[in-house]
């Protein structure tokens, strides 16, 4: 296909979403239809692009000199774009139902929600580091409102914090981009890296420091410890935002950017075995340990899942920091699998909040029988998160674990220990919710009313689809893993 369609795919949601700001008096039903048409249209276009990939790049605009904003779709971009294109229309359905009680500024909310789609696609399609950076900053700006939407004190504080963290992080990344323009042949993404080794050999440590800065900078969105503080707080946002943005689009953009800079800008071969690799691996492992422990201690359901997200994002980073093709396979496969697991988990918790106003662990005891579909799907998501076969989570954990052992890196064995510990903790923090819901104690005092039942189809459909995907991806992961393998070895 012509690569102009890349621009169209980004612009449809971006402009469509912006147009929604004007539709103040639009009926809610019409708003829903327009939103759904916009997202489905974009998704169809994206999936067509994924299967008929345009080979050439397209210039969006030129800033100055060789600083160009270009779009190009490569294999890794296909995976990320395909993933968001699959999730967004379904998440939209869920959001319609979730926001049905919340009548103020709904058009603004959906406007930003859909604009975010376009920006996320921009990140997936970014052809060089500068474009990535451009859309990355834009992502922060369009999503701030979504966190702030409830407009109470907590939400405003959380959104301010999110803004400071993200912009601050991007500033670090900016320094690294300058370094790449100086030391690299080009700023485009090329598997294996673009550094000019002759230039680098004079200041290797300087370049490594810059890489570390970029890692930390993009790591802010990937909720890397100690820059993770915004994520649990941002769970005050409406659940469609927490689920789609804070478990997939925004945080995965951070992880995606890190995979880009490791494998496509600095180059895994240059980084492997350097002190910078040990530092970033240690950071990822520390995050996993910290977040999975905190998740066990947290009793607010959404925050518990948010901590779980932090820990799982660092699984992706851990895979990426192995700096081997196997590591990249592990990272990308976890990027995909975790998206389904966590969005399913968040949607279930959100459905419970929406139907019953229950937010805390103790309140859901015995709720399983009242909401069998929701908790059935949550059980699948939980089992999958713990990495228990035959669910999807097992596949990606297996890939990461294999990469860790095959990396011949002394920290690889430590990584195994970390994965083991985190698997226990995951089993505990997800297992407790599942067991409490299905097997209440005889002494449990929770009372249930008429409204404690499964939600309507708009909420159930996405959740059921995601739960089915978890099982299908677990059982039939070969095609996906083969594609990722081809990408990691540069064949796609």
């Amino acid at each position: 296909m012509n690569s102009v369609f890349l621009i169209i795919a980004v612009l449809i949601p971006l402009l469509g979403g912006a147009a929604l700001f004007l539709a103040k008096d639009l009926e809610y039903k019409r708003l829903q239809v327009i939103c759904e048409i916009l997202t489905v249209l974009t998704s169809i276009l994206v999936w067509t692009l994924v299967f008929h990939r345009p080979e050439e790049e397209i210039l969006l605009f030129q800033l100055t000199g060789n600083l160009r904003i270009i779009l190009k779709l490569d294999g890794l971009g296909c995976i990320f774009a395909g993933l968001v294109a699959f999730l967004w229309p379904l998440a939209n359905l869920y959001a319609f139902e979730y926001m049905s009680h919340d009548e103020k500024r709904r058009h603004v909310f959906f406007g930003f929600y859909i604009m975010t789609y376009g920006v996320t696609l921009g990140i997936a399609f970014a052809g060089n580091i500068l474009t990535l950076y451009f859309f990355y900053e834009l992502l922060t700006l369009v999503t701030v409102y979504l966190v702030m939407h409830p407009m109470h004190k907590k939400a405003i504080r959380a959104s301010r914090m999110y803004l400071y963290y993200s912009l601050g992080g991007a500033a670090f990344a900016f320094l690294s981009i300058i370094c790449l323009t100086i030391f690299g042949d080009t700023t485009n993404f090329v598997l294996g890296g673009v550094l000019d080794m002759e230039k680098v050999s004079a200041h290797p440590n300087w370049v490594l420091t810059m890489f570390l800065l970029a890692f930390c900078g993009f790591g802010v969105k990937a909720a890397l410890f100690p820059f993770h503080g915004w994520l649990p707080r941002a769970s005050v946002a409406p659940t469609p935002v927490t689920a789609l943005l804070h478990a997939v689009a925004v945080v995965k953009s951070g992880a995606f950017a890190i995979i880009r800079i490791i494998y496509y800008s600095y180059g895994a071969d240059f980084l492997r075995g350097t002190w910078a690799q040990y530092v970033v691996m240690a950071m990822a492992m520390l995050t996993i340990l910290y977040a999975s422990t905190m998740a066990v201690k947290e009793i607010h359901l959404k925050r518990r899942l948010a901590y779980s997200t932090i820990s799982n994002l660092s699984y992706i980073l851990l895979g990426a920091t192995m700096m081997t093709p196997l590591g990249m396979i592990g990272a990308v496969s976890h990027l995909v699998m975790h998206a389904f697991m966590k969005i399913c988990g968040f949607f279930c918790v959100g459905a419970v909040m929406h139907q019953t106003d229950r937010n805390y662990l103790a309140e859901i005891e015995g709720l399983g029988r009242k909401m069998p579909v929701i908790f059935g799907c949550f059980t699948i998501a939980g089992i999958s998160l713990a990495g228990i076969p035959p669910m999807a989570g097992f596949i990606s954990k297996w890939n990461i674990g294999t990469a860790a052992l095959m990396s011949e890196n002394p920290l690889g064995y430590a990584a195994m220990g970390v994965l083991l510990y985190s698997a226990f903790m995951t089993a505990i923090y997800m297992g407790v919710i599942i067991l409490k819901a299905w097997f209440p104690r005889k002494t449990c005092t929770n009372t249930f009313s008429e409204k404690d039942r499964d939600p309507n189809w708009k909420m159930k459909l996405p959740i059921l689809v995601f739960a089915c995907m978890l099982i299908c991806l677990g059982l039939f992961s070969r095609p996906l893993v083969n594609v990722i393998k081809a990408i990691a070895y540069g064949n796609l």
């Binding site: 422990t293 201690k297 990495g387 005889k442």
Partner: protein, 618 residues
């Protein structure tokens, strides 16, 4: 016969059917049909029946998957499904005790599974394959350079399999989970799910650690400890199903001793292989019968404590007959099936002692193991006697007439299935040559063992002697220990010290560890939320600027002390204040000066002078 499903669950599934797998699948199906049919009556008055039956069937498929798998990966996947779905059995009754036991069960299942997965990772990276039929050659080829990694992988996997098998010291879930689970389910938990773990250990022994001395001694040691611990626990127990559960721990110990002896005996390990396998089969069948008999008791009385159920079996010849078959089988009475397998295990120890004596090795260790083996067999007899006499001979002090009146205590269907399960045991024991030897012949290939040099005659004096010693020890223990110590004022008393609860110790350690980690995380989190937010940064900035402020103030003070000596004021609070006063005074003076006439004249003069200088220059 092998069967492969590609493209599923990442690595594909790989199944195989050989003698061992065929026999165990048949046993599994037999056990499930007995339990299912008995469940009909047992669950007549229960709620959540659909859930129970659903998970019963799911676990059956998973268990068959475990026994058919020919690849550790395939096995692991079915193993996990089996572990998790059988949780529902334990928690089925939803009482406080059942939920607690369920958590223990699940914890063991999950931890065991994860540790096993680590083992699989290591094995895969060291050897490069997880297929059971490729492992042997693959391990042999890399053994010299990677033995440490293979040992680590093996012991991690042993942890996982042992946790499911009820191997010491991971056995504590059995005595907790079995009493609370419904009886048909505990029969399966004890009879067949534990065997999945043993199956894994057997594969490791046959394919990875072939005739390996270290592996053998670890398993032997754990087996001996489990055998003794289980038997002692069972003698102490005062609960019908708990006794049977502890007995399972002990019998698994017997089986593991067989596994250990396989490693020690090397190429001529046929005796140990046959003993191990036959004891597995016997234990499965016996526990199926005994737990279902216990189920009959519970179904009628809703009690399992020995003091409550005593005398229930009087005047119920069918139940007594069935229970007796199981008791005789597990006690190792000649002519019943347990005798055959125990004799084989015993003979394998004796054979190794003979080998040691020939080569001049030290025999006292194995001599003592032989005696521990015989004494544990004796304890088995003792606790089965305790159960049997309590149930069928003693009278209940108050409710005996009520118990005697329960004549329709079992439906005909239950009678038929439990009767079937009971008849099998003496049938196998009376004709070992036609039944058990045939089974054992079928598994020799699976265990990489040669055929027997000569067939064993089970009913010769030397072989009978071991069994009879055990039985005598058992009767003595029952008469002199159980009756004297554990029965006080006509009641069975629980004398097991509470502090000897292994699980409590484990959880204490784990919780202490978690607390430390949690506290650490919280401290870090508190630190971060305090200082890494914008407010925190502002605070830090403020602190820094305040510090700088103080510093500059001191500098000014120093300057003031040296330069502005003329100050006469002594009592000044702050030097900045005094500086201000100076400045104000100066400004005031300047204003006065600026507004005076003389200043105007002065400026005019300066202007004139500048004009003159300019004119002169040109």
């Amino acid at each position: 016969m092998t069967y492969e499903i590609l493209n599923i669950c990442g690595q594909g599934f790989y199944f195989k059917l050989d003698g061992f797998r065929l026999i165990y699948c048949c046993i599994a199906l037999f056990m499930w049909s007995v339990s299912l049919l008995f469940s009909k009556e047992y669950f007549a008055h229960y709620s959540h029946k659909a859930r129970y039956y659903g998970f019963l069937i799911l676990t059956m498929f998973a268990t068959l998957g475990v026994f058919l798998s020919a690849d550790f990966m395939t096995m692991f996947i079915f193993f996990e499904i089996m572990s998790l779905s059988s949780y529902v059995w334990v928690a089925q009754e939803e009482t406080e005790a059942a939920l607690k036991a369920g958590v223990t069960y699940l914890a063991i299942a999950v931890i065991g599974g994860m540790v096993m997965l680590m083992g699989l990772f290591l094995m895969q990276s060291a050897v490069g394959t997880l297929r059971m039929d490729e492992l042997y050659t693959a391990v042999q080829s890399v053994w010299d350079e990677k033995s440490a990694q293979i040992y680590a992988a093996g012991f991690l996997m042993l942890f996982g399999f042992g946790a499911k098998a009820g191997m010491f010291p991971l056995h504590f879930w059995l005595p907790k989970a079995h009493p609370v689970a419904p009886a048909p389910a505990s029969a399966l938990l004890s009879g067949i799910l534990t065997k999945c773990g043993v199956f894994g250990i057997l594969v490791l022994t046959a394919e990875v650690f072939v005739h390996n001395f270290i592996w053998g001694s670890v398993i032997l040691a754990l087996g001996v400890l489990g055998m003794v611990a289980g038997a002692v626990l069972a003698v102490f127990s005062v609960n019908l199903k708990r006794t049977l559960a502890c007995s399972s721990v002990s019998q698994i110990g017997f089986i593991l001793i067989g596994v250990g002896m396989q490693c020690f005996l090397g190429g001529e390990n046929a005796l140990a292989v046959r003993g191990t396998f036959l004891h597995m089969v016997n234990h499965s069948l016996i526990k199926l019968l005994l737990f279902n008999c216990a189920g009959v008791v519970y179904m009628n009385l809703h009690a399992l404590e020995l003091n409550d159920v005593r005398g229930f079996g009087r005047k119920k010849p069918f139940l007594m007959g069935c229970f007796l078959m199981g008791a005789l089988g597990i006690g190792g009475m000649p002519l019943w099936n347990g005798y055959v397998s125990k004799t084989l295990l015993h003979e394998s120890i004796v054979e190794y002692i003979a080998v040691l004596a020939e080569t001049g090795g030290n025999v006292w260790l194995f001599k003592s193991i032989e005696w521990i083996f015989l004494i544990s067999g004796g304890l088995t007899v003792a606790y089965m006697l305790k159960l049997f006499i309590c149930l069928f001979i003693e009278e209940h002090p108050t409710k005996q007439a009520e118990y005697d009146a329960m004549t329709s205590y079992m439906s005909p269907l239950s009678r038929i299935v439990i009767g079937c399960a009971a008849v099998v045991l003496p049938l196998m024991g009376f004709f070992p040559g036609g039944t058990m030897d045939k089974m054992a012949d079928a598994v020799m290939g699976f265990m990489r063992s040669g055929s027997m040099e000569h067939s064993v005659y089970y009913f010769t004096w030397t072989n009978l002697k071991g069994g009879l010693i055990s039985i005598c020890i058992g009767i003595l223990v029952y008469v002199f220990v159980v009756r004297k110590v554990f029965v006080r004022n006509g009641k069975y008393v629980d004398l097991w010290p509470k502090w000897l609860d292994i699980e409590a110790a484990f959880t204490r350690i784990i919780f202490a560890f978690l607390k430390v980690l949690g506290a650490g995380s919280r401290v870090v989190d508190g630190f971060l939320t305090q200082w890494c937010t914008v407010e925190g940064m502002l605070k830090a900035l403020e602190a820094v600027s305040r510090g700088a402020d103080g510093l500059s103030e001191r500098a000014v003070a120093y300057l003031k002390g040296t330069v502005y000596r003329e100050t006469t004021e002594k009592s000044v609070n702050s030097f900045v204040q005094s500086l201000h006063e100076h400045y104000d005074k100066k400004v005031d003076n300047m204003r006065l000066v600026g507004s005076s006439l003389s200043f105007g004249l002065l400026l005019a003069c300066i202007g004139l002078i500048l004009t003159i200088v300019y004119l002169l220059m040109h």
